[in-house]
Symmetry: C2
DNA sequence: AATGAAGATTGACATATATCAATTTTTACA
DNA sequence: TGTAAAAATTGATATATGTCAATCTTCATT
């Protein structure tokens, strides 16, 4: 409880888990962020941001892991990416309709800073380098969506699932053995298939000795083979 | 020939087909664009920009129509959108790796202004309002990719084809009867299916009296029904 | 008009994928 | 610890979609 209080009020200047982007701010700018931010903890499963709501703040993920997903047709969702600590989350709403165009849900206990959007925009317009970095960040996100568009529409299930697992390995955990933060259903949402199909593809992968799932952990046994499946489609 | 020469050297200040965005520039800025632009005509079928190449310029489409597409796996492409006159084309490469992340091919005879990227960036950083509008434009493009990601992965063929046709109607021609600028194969690339499937879906649409294709023209006969198919998926 | 190339069409077929229903396993919590 | 709810699994089946091969049409060019 005291820990909760401590962290929620600590100053940005002392923060170790601030997203890279904000390192480009000077003291005054950081003080402005400081004065206009809100620190919040979320339990696993809680909704951090809901698609369609007004974008009053931008986000910086301090700790934990979350899924960022688009809510599509008839309750079906497409997970765009997994959000890990120290990453900044803005989105196309900042400069269009000031709404959130995706939802974010905590996968494990997480903490997030909400930074007032108007303050953020003001700083953006006054700090050239910061603005450039912000755009770089945004552009990278866009490129990854391009990439997903292609692989989700041009590969079949095994290739898509391989890509999803390789993504977890390459971009999130960087280890062959990592905790299963996603349910089968969520893995299905990440690779655009039905829950049952996800189960079957994973079973096949395990049968072929590509990976092992046990005790809430996944271990990739044959990275090279996964890469090959990803390539073949 | 004289016409060609005329148009290629005319000044931006006099240009009627400059993209909206540039209306926000002052005289000096426009003069800078003027001095650092290249005007080029393309014949139908010619490649305007090739994915992967160095982004030395940003584009403004003066006349004609073009397809903007991502070249994906094994020669397969996904058409992102149709580009019509007076639209600006930048893309995520501007602020990431300075490469083009899509290709653009003229569908009909077209003309394009190429504006030096460094000059463009310099103007961006000096003109707040211009920068905001640029970001709005970019954000809209991103939102449309979100949208496509959802509908390409969550709808089946008839729904996807209906969306493609409605897109041509709503966003490009704004008429029920319009020229068939896309081949069946390109319609397939726009709606993520095989050439043959596109043919069959279109045949079904025609059988049901939703549309008519003849003499290089498509006429939508039952807009409401198309909307319904789009909704049902 | 004749020719050939590209595009469009078709039906048969194979395959990928979703759906359904039943069952088992895991998890949460009273 | 027991119990209910949620998640995962499975096999059977239906459906959507791609692939193939053959044919037909259109169009540009000689």
């Amino acid at each position: 409880m005291s820990e909760y209080f401590d962290k929620s009020t600590k100053r940005c200047a002392d923060c170790q888990s601030m997203s890279q982007l904000f390192c480009l701010l000077n003291q005054d700018e950081l003080a402005m962020v400081d004065a206009n931010k809100i620190f919040v903890r979320f339990n696993a499963g809680e909704t951090i941001k809901k698609q369609g709501t007004f974008m009053s703040h931008v986000l910086s993920v301090n700790s934990g892991l979350a899924k960022l997903y688009i809510e599509g047709i008839e309750g079906r969702s497409a997970i765009l990416r997994i959000v890990k600590p120290t990453s900044f989350i803005g989105g196309p709403g900042i400069y269009s309709d000031q709404r959130h165009h995706f939802s974010i849900t905590a996968l494990v206990d997480s903490s997030v800073c909400f930074i007032d959007l108007q303050v953020f925009k003001k700083i953006l317009s006054g700090n050239q380098l910061f603005a450039e970095e912000f755009l770089k960040d945004f552009s990278q996100d866009v490129l990854s969506v391009y990439n997903r568009l292609i692989y989700l529409t041009q590969k079949q299930m095994p290739g898509r699932m391989a890509d999803a697992l390789l993504y977890l390995h390459d971009a999130i955990f960087r280890k062959l053995k990592f905790p299963m933060i996603l349910s089968r259903f969520e893995l299905a949402e990440l690779s655009a298939m039905s829950r049952e199909s996800a189960v079957k593809v994973l079973r096949d992968f395990q049968k072929e000795g590509l990976l092992r799932i046990s005790d809430h952990e996944m271990e990739i046994l044959d990275l090279e083979a996964l890469h090959k499946i990803s390539r073949v489609g």
